[in-house]
Symmetry: D2
Subunit: 138 residues, 4 copies
């Protein structure tokens, strides 16, 4: 399973300009799980001098995509939610851990936790994906 997941995520990752702009690196991955890491740059800050909420959302959403598609079926997100708990600053190193909580029928539910370099939870994300009939061709 592991190799198939890796190949699929390679395919998604290698052609993903926004993930590249974010500077996301892959730390760990398998079907149903993805760990991603990135460092917060100056252009990711908002008017309060802290990371824009869209940055942590984007990291979590990428982790959701990688974790859910790793099984081989194409998955699209149906609904996602995020709570931002701790302010994220320039040069913070963020790690997103996406884990599958449930797969049932056509839907998968994932929790993603984002921690900073002090291992504080800065954001919690929940994502529901729809598993299409279509498989990834790799």
């Amino acid at each position: 399973m592991k190799d198939k997941a890796k190949k699929i995520i390679d395919k998604m990752y290698l052609n993903d300009p926004f993930t590249k702009w974010l500077g996301i690196e892959r730390v760990e991955e398998s079907a149903g799980k993805s760990v991603l890491r990135m460092t917060v740059k100056n252009e990711m800050l908002n008017g309060f001098g802290i990371a824009h909420g869209g940055i942590t959302y984007s990291l979590a959403d990428s982790a959701l995509a990688f974790a859910s598609n790793g099984y081989g079926k194409m998955c699209v997100s149906v609904e996602t939610s995020i709570s931002h708990m701790v302010a994220v600053k320039e040069n913070d190193v963020l790690t997103a851990i996406a884990e599958e909580i449930s797969i049932k029928n056509k839907f998968g539910i994932y929790y993603v936790k984002i921690v900073n370099q002090h291992n504080e939870t800065v954001a919690l994300f929940k994502g529901t994906v729809y598993r299409k009939e279509k498989d990834w061709e790799i």
Copy 2:
């Protein structure tokens, strides 16, 4: 009220590097309302050749911040959710319309609708903000 809202949003907008990177322009604003617009660039795409979910989230989250802070009290987001309904492509022009649905005690609830240049709804966002005791100094 209008002028105060405008001054507060100026303050947030003028020092917001990520909003600048996104190329967000302000179309309309008042206390409780914000309309923003942006054009999707190549570096905002994901591995499927469509805009990363983080792009529409970021636009909606900025609209939430501008609409809710316009009253004069500092607001922070507590929980946000988004559903992506229609794929967004390069060069699409996205408009986010954030409107206050309820303000009660310390909390405000906003709905943000994002439409493309064909007036199709591409994403729906709901945000809950906490209104701090602290006022904006302008």
Copy 3:
């Protein structure tokens, strides 16, 4: 369309013991819309002497089911969220207004607003439904 929606909702409503226990009455309905009403009874209160959050959720969830199934395709809820803004008391008369915001591919998104007899918004609910291939037989 209207008559078909009415027949489908009849079928759901007439065999729904919990909706009966809640004392829900149908005020208005068509494909994509449902307005329901109920009066809060003593056994619906929680330990604070106000209506349990499950009461307003149940009313909103019924309105979601009636509004979304009225088109003829069987719909099941995928994800729902609710914010409780104003305390609901015994004998309050609650009205839920469910409206379709978007139908796209296999998914529908609905907003449900619950108001009390003073027309105050007491809760806001968002529901995403999955539209099955299967049609209602009526």
Copy 4:
């Protein structure tokens, strides 16, 4: 801490008519955690012959209230969401496990998992609570 949590939950539970109607029993509890159990009765079913979505929501919402108030500060829910994954039938025995994921500043976030007697996850609930300045008097 345990005894204080127990006393607070006693106070909430003993005067909660709806929790009584649901037949909820307390299995385990401490500050930040609550496990509740109930059996699905005929009057909790909807028009499809399965438990109304409001039943699992109500059980989860009670678990959230018990877990979050156990610390001694009065907590109110700000936003809750639930996904229903497996149909719940008459006589099913449901167990809700509420656990605190994060407490930061004035907000707490809890995940609640509901399983049936076969240990299948039937619903996943996420709740955000606001922690008031006010303490419980016990």
